[in-house]
Each structure stands twice: as structure tokens, then as C-alpha cells.
Amino acid sequence: MRFQFKTSYDQDIRIFRDKVDVFWYGLLAVLVLILPLLLDDYYVGETAWVFIYGICGVSMMVLVGYTGLVSLGHAAFLGIGAYAHAYFIQHGMPWVVAMVLAVALTTASGLIVGLPALRMTGIYLTIATLAFAVIIQEVFSRWESVTHGFAGMKVDKPVIFGFEFATDQSFYYLCLFFLVVVLWATRNLLRSPTGRAWIAIRDSEIAAQSMGVHLAVYKSIAFAYSAGVMGLAGALFAHKIAYLAPDIFTILLSIQFLLLVIVGGLGSLHGAILGAIFVALLPPVIAILRDSIPESMAAFAAGTGLTFVGTIGSAVGGFLAKPGVEAGIFGLILVLVILLEPLGMYGRWLKIKLFFSTFPMYKAATFKRQKSYMRSERLR
């Protein structure tokens, strides 16, 4: 068993609670820093995707996981950030300036979307964000003088203060840097009155209001911040994907972002990262399975003479290669997670950790939701 002894308020506020935390995060930091030296270029590139998705995850986590406002339109913010950044660079602006402007623009657009959304709740808000994303996607395809429409827009490698991030390795570190900055800043907001107000709004708007939280202001801040972070991810995304086209920023991508935070675990930054790992690595894993399952099962069939195994193998491979299967698998996982593990991957991890750290006193009911009355009845 491991106890946490609190000696000062300061300890409560720190990002890392104790020496054990510092040790594990330090180890993680070292691992992440030397990873590009250990991996093939391909995997370094895939890990950069994890970092970009991680930033997207933080953006979604602030709005959905902490403030409780569900958006199905965040691909639009990613797109605005990506196109704006690419456009500014094409027009000769220094990289840092282009990035700052792209983030400012998405922050402003988040604020504008957020304003009418303040009067809406639940599913209506979600539909409003969806409508916004559809409109923005239309703008991407029609506003050809800026986006080049379906002809697409080429994005060069980032050049910052004269240094070109041309290799997978250098771009990996660039993404890692921004992920760490975003995590740090978000953690700062979360451990201060701003973050507590967000959580309060999520858990009980009426109580938040009677504690003095101005709902409209804090929802707007959440919307703007979330959009701004998404815009930052968009700028990196533009470089990573190298070629922007309107059909990248679809509803499916927005759904994937939602999947990311739900699978990762709502209401924790760890969840945003775990979800990012999941979402970024699932497609390559499916691709690997698509190739390796038929091969290995064919080899097995050849070795044992059980020909039906080979047939099954190629059928599975064929199925995985079909278009739309990936989206289907995402959807299936989303449904399974909501049904079986509503706390997400991070919630599962916490349970495992609690089980071992309190063994043999683990109480199965610790994570049970204890609300038995209806929300609509609570005011009376």
C-alpha cells in the first residue's frame, strides 16, 4: 500500500504530486526523448501523429470532458487552423507569426461559435456545432482564392528561424514540444479557478451559478480555448499531411475526436493522451492486421494442411481492406466503450491501480455512480 502524506498546500497544487510521480513521468520523458533514436522513420512519423492527436485530445477534453459541452464540429477548427497557417506561410509570413495568427483566428472562431451555443444545451448544442462544421467544410471547398478548393493546397515543411524541420525526427520533436506546452498550459488552467468553474458547470450548472460562476463567460472561455488548441494542432497537422483538401475535415474526423476523448476517459488529461494513442495507432494496426492475418493463416494452413484456415484468413484480410470498415470499427469500439467502460481507458487504469495499491481492501463500489434521481427533478 502507498499512502500520500500531504505536508503543505503547495504539494497539492504542484503538477506532480510526489517523488514517485516525478520518477515515472521523468522516465516517460526520457523514453519519449530517445524514442526517435530507437525507431524506424515510419514509426517516428506515426508517433508524431500521436502527439498531434494528443493536442486535439486536449482541445476536446477541455470542452467535452471538463466543461461538459459536446462538440461534433471540431474538425472545422482543425481545418481553420490548418488552412490559415498554410495560407499565411504561403504569403511569406514567418512560421511563428503564421502559427500565432492561425491560433488567434481559430480562437476567435471558437468564440463566435460559442456565443449562440451558450443558449443551447445538450443535443441542441451538439447539432449546432455539427451544422457549423458542415458550413465551414463548404467554405473550404468554395473559397478557392484562399484554399484552392478541391485542387488542394500544398504545405511545405516547417522552417522556423531558418531551421528546416525536414526529417521525421525533427518534426517529431516539434510536435512533442507543442504537446508539452499545451498540456502544461491546460493543467495550469485546470488547477486554478478557471478549470474548477468548468468542472462545476459540467456537474451542476445551477450550483455553479449560485457559487458565482458566470456561465456564459466560462463556457465562452472553454469554447475559445478549445478551438485555439485545435487550431494549433491544425497548423502541425497541415505540415504533417503536407497537402490540404476540404474532404479531410469531415464529420467523420469530428466523430473520431469525440471517440478519442470517450475511449481515453472523459475528464482527465491522461485520457486525452491515451485516446490519442488509440486513435492514431488503430489505423496502422488495422493495416498491419490486414496484411499479416492472411499471410500467417495461409502459412499455418500450408504447414498443417487445414486449408479452411487459409480461406478464413484471406476472408478476414479482404474484409479489413474494404472501404468504410475502419469507420465501422471505430463506431463499434465507441459503442462498446460507452456500454462497458464509461470511464474510458484512464478509468480502467485507475481501477487497476487502486486495486493493487489498496489490496486487499478494494471496494468494487468506489466508481459506481450514485445518482438515483432525475436531473429534471432536482430543482424542485
Binding site: 498550459a185 486554478s192 458565482g212 460562476v213 432536482r378
Partner: protein, 252 residues
């Protein structure tokens, strides 16, 4: 001079007069209790006082200031705190985090200071924790400070909600059925707290309550409400023995 007064307060919900011309005032340091059958309009009065509901008529005055048109999120900063009939805690947060929300009206840092977590933000956080910890100690909640609300007993949650309201450092405290869902022993504890708070801090308390032992133990003045109207006013005993009150409870 009264600290708070409601003058001819009214609200309609689609033709139903949930609160119908209610007038009362509460003096500093007084425990003022509202009783009445279910659906009488008691909680609605609280929601009007919190400015969550828009009155269709009447006036609210706090500390000599007309608050009838004050925005709901400004009520706490004026010094008015409340609890809720069915608990409105932030369930995923710990006891300490819930109490820290009570410090929201006392925050001194802006968004940028929070974002960068400047030294000023750190100092403010420490100060907020110190203030919250005082309230935690007052209620003996120290063993539960880091416990998520979800794993507390109902009785403890009621105490946490009271503690959270106190972190606002209010001058007027509104308690909506503080004993509902509590056992006899827990109700006695609650009675002791309410008495204590009034004595120690000079708080004015407006309380909605069904449990007559609690009403008798702490109330200075009692009104009975039925169908949105005040039907009796006076000492706890007088109101309970009022024939119209008895009829309201029996006949509705």
C-alpha cells in the same frame, strides 16, 4: 433593520401561481423558517431569491439594495449562499475541490495569470486552500478532504454542501430541507451546526424544513406556506397549531 426582504413576490408557471404575493423579511442573525406541504412553492421562493427564476412581480432587497434585477451569478458575491433540496454537489470532484468553488467569488487572479500559473496564481491557490481547510476543520471533514463526493454517505454530502456554501463567507444562508434524507441522529447534528453558525458568525438563515424537531430547535420565526401564499406567521409552536396550517397539511 432587516438584512433581507421579499416584497409581494410572485411567479406564475403557465397560469399556476407557484408563489403568490409573498412578503417577509429576515433580520441579521435570525433563523427564519418556511414550512408547508409539498408543492407549496417553498423551493420556488429560494430559486427566486437566487435569481434563477424571474419573478412576475414583487421586489427583493438585500442589505438595503434592490437585487430584483441582479444577475444570478452576482448573488453569491453579495453574500447570499444556498444549499439544494436534492444536493447539487460537483460529484466527480473531491470534498476540497467542491469547497474551493465556494472561493470562486473571492478569486483574485485573471485568466492570463491562471494560464501561465504565475506566482500570484500559486499564492492565490494556497490562500484559497487555507480558507477552505478552515471550513473543513470546522466541520470535521479533514478525513474526507480528498475523497470524491461519489463515495461519501448522504449525510456527509449534506454537510459538504453546507460547508461549500459557507466558503462563500455569506451573510445570508439559504438551506433547502437540510434534514431531508438524514436519520434522527444526523438531523440532530445538522441542528447543532445551524445553531452554531448563527451564534458564531452572526449569519442570517432562511430555512425550508419539514422535520418539526429541527424547526423547533433552531427557528426564531416561522411562516407556513400553502399554494404559494403565506397562511400563518409567528413562533414555531404558534404556526404549527394554527388551524389553517393543520388544514393545509391534512387537506392540501
Amino acid at each position: 433593520m432587516s438584512l433581507f426582504s421579499a416584497d409581494n413576490l410572485s411567479i406564475n408557471f403557465g397560469g399556476i401561481k407557484a408563489v403568490d404575493g409573498v412578503t417577509f423579511d429576515v433580520a441579521k442573525g435570525e433563523v427564519f423558517t418556511i414550512i408547508g406541504p409539498n408543492g407549496a412553492g417553498k423551493t420556488t421562493i429560494f430559486n427566486l431569491m437566487s435569481r434563477i427564476y424571474e419573478p412576475s412581480g414583487g421586489k427583493l432587497v438585500f442589505d438595503g439594495r434592490d437585487i430584483t434585477n441582479v444577475a444570478p451569478h452576482r448573488i453569491a458575491a453579495l453574500g447570499i449562499a444556498r444549499t439544494f433540496q436534492n444536493l447539487e454537489l460537483f460529484d466527480s470532484s473531491t470534498v476540497l475541490e467542491n469547497l474551493l468553488l465556494g472561493r470562486h467569488v473571492h478569486r483574485r487572479t485573471n485568466l492570463v495569470e491562471n494560464f501561465l500559473f504565475l506566482p500570484k496564481a500559486r499564492r492565490a491557490e494556497i490562500e484559497d486552500r487555507r480558507a477552505a481547510e478552515e471550513v473543513i476543520d470546522l466541520f470535521g471533514l479533514a478525513p474526507h478532504a480528498e475523497t470524491p463526493i461519489g463515495s461519501l454517505s448522504y449525510g456527509l454530502r449534506k454537510i459538504v454542501e453546507l460547508a461549500r456554501a459557507l466558503c462563500i463567507r455569506p451573510r445570508l444562508l439559504m438551506l433547502d430541507e437540510p434534514s431531508s434524507g438524514l436519520g434522527a441522529e444526523e438531523t440532530e447534528t445538522m441542528a447543532r451546526w445551524i445553531g452554531d453558525l448563527r451564534r458564531r458568525m452572526g449569519l442570517a438563515v432562511v430555512m425550508i424544513e419539514h422535520d418539526m424537531s429541527l424547526v423547533n430547535a433552531v427557528s426564531d420565526r416561522v411562516v407556513a406556506l400553502n399554494q404559494g401564499r403565506i397562511i400563518a406567521e409567528g413562533s414555531a409552536a404558534a404556526v404549527q397549531n394554527d388551524p389553517e396550517v393543520i388544514r393545509a397539511y391534512l387537506g392540501g
